[in-house]
Symmetry: C2
Subunit: 237 residues, 2 copies
DNA sequence: ATGAAACCTGACCAAACGGTCAGGAAGACG
DNA sequence: CGTCTTCCTGACCGTTTGGTCAGGTTTCAT
């Protein structure tokens, strides 16, 4: 590996107050977190090539050489950023599995993905950039983890359709539609921002967008065809 | 200006056969087209920074210095590529206006945008890249042309809603959903390709996706097409 | 034919970038 | 205190890249 100068795992004390004394291992973790945050922002805004280690170091408030002390190469840093994002998405994806009710499962999944776009737009942008450029770093994730996740979810949707609980739409296209729409609010937030009179979406505007997306998709797949706003939430399983 | 060494507009003859003799002005136009096509591909695959004039020249089959004879700077070439794409989208946007029937207008618009994603995926990717990176080159387009187009279309949708021809959804969110979903098939085609067992979507698969997108959105906004066979509105789960 | 304009190209350059390195500062531990 | 390890940094280097330039070749009107 040699990405980092190895963690010696000293762990001298439980460190009751992380912000005051900052023992060695905590200071290291904190600095890594700082660099990763800066890297996420810069990679999102400029892409892999456009981002420079100098810019990332500046945003993290450290000299470039120090950044290379924590992450030996630009690519190692980038890969760590992408993996963090993928993990967040995988966690959110589990909201899909928590119940067997199509209405609730879809509502929760779409809401979770919209919330991630709101809270981690930079991560989504890095992912988008990576796919746009043919996934030179994360192709293996696409082929394994994402592929398996997609296949199992498609099976679930197909079962719901067979059981007459959804209209017979193409499940794969539905998933792509959900991904595309929810991530659009992160990846294209600059365009949305511009079209909103130069102001970022307010919380109320974003909630309305989220509700609209949920409403259109649920109605679109034949769930609760009439009720668009009548939030009456049936019993859970 | 000085982007090009100015077109002297000689136009020596009507040039009845463009492919044979290639008079001056035609050869120039042809070379420019070749460069622009190569540039679109390379910019789409590598982003603005990742693309190099050397790579573009290679793909166009000309020396780098010759490329700079036609386009003085990388940025001028990039801007030309982006403007071409925007024009294609604007043309497609007109399909929205050709009729006052929400079902037909939406169907035609979505279909047109899906077809563009199929036929000009590289252009869509360049646009996506530009928005991801905060539109450093085309911010003015967003603020003027795109903003005006969006506002007028929103007014049309609001009228349809007021006339009871559509469910009362948020028109802006609907437009974003259409953009996101249709462009997803271009911008994320590498991911789609990977999730399709490494094969690009066949024409049949793509047609099915297009129909699914149209069906979900039409049903989602409360328009009952003659299409979808099952699930007429009315049944509450 | 002939000269001018347009077109083409190998060789080159300055700037920017990723990454290295030698050496200094700061904490840990006896 | 001394010394060992970790952490930090200015200065530097080889490569890549956008763009230039001098000079050659082709086209075309006269």
């Amino acid at each position: 590996m040699s990405d980092k100068p190895q963690t010696p795992t000293p762990l001298p004390a439980p460190a009751t107050d992380p912000s005051a004394q900052t023992p060695r291992s905590l200071a290291r973790a904190e600095t890594e977190r700082l660099i990763l945050k800066a890297a996420e922002d810069v990679f999102a805004e400029y892409g892999f090539k456009g981002a420079t280690t100098g810019k990332i170091a500046d945003r993290a408030g450290i000299p470039k050489a120090n950044l290379h002390y924590y992450f030996s190469t630009k690519e190692a840093l980038y890969r760590q950023v992408v993996e963090n994002i993928f993990q967040i998405w995988l966690d959110a994806a589990n909201t899909f599995d928590d119940c067997d009710n199509p209405e609730e499962a879809l509502t929760r999944y779409i809401s979770a993905k919209m919330d991630i776009s709101r809270q981690h737009p930079m991560g989504s942008k890095v992912w988008a950039n990576e796919i746009l450029h043919k996934a030179p770093v994360i192709q293996d994730y696409l082929e394994t983890t994402l592929g398996e996740w997609t296949d199992t979810r498609i099976a679930v949707i197909e079962r719901w359709i067979a059981e007459g609980r959804m209209a017979p739409i193409d499940p794969r296209s539905l998933l792509y539609m959900i991904w595309a729409t929810t991530q659009h609010y992160a990846d294209f937030n600059h365009q949305i921002h511009t079209l909103n009179n130069g102001e970022p979406l307010s919380d109320a505007q974003f909630e309305r967008a989220k509700e609209t997306v949920v409403a259109i998709i649920l109605a679109g797949v034949g769930i609760r065809p009439a009720g668009l706003e009548t939030k009456q939430n049936g019993g859970r399983a």
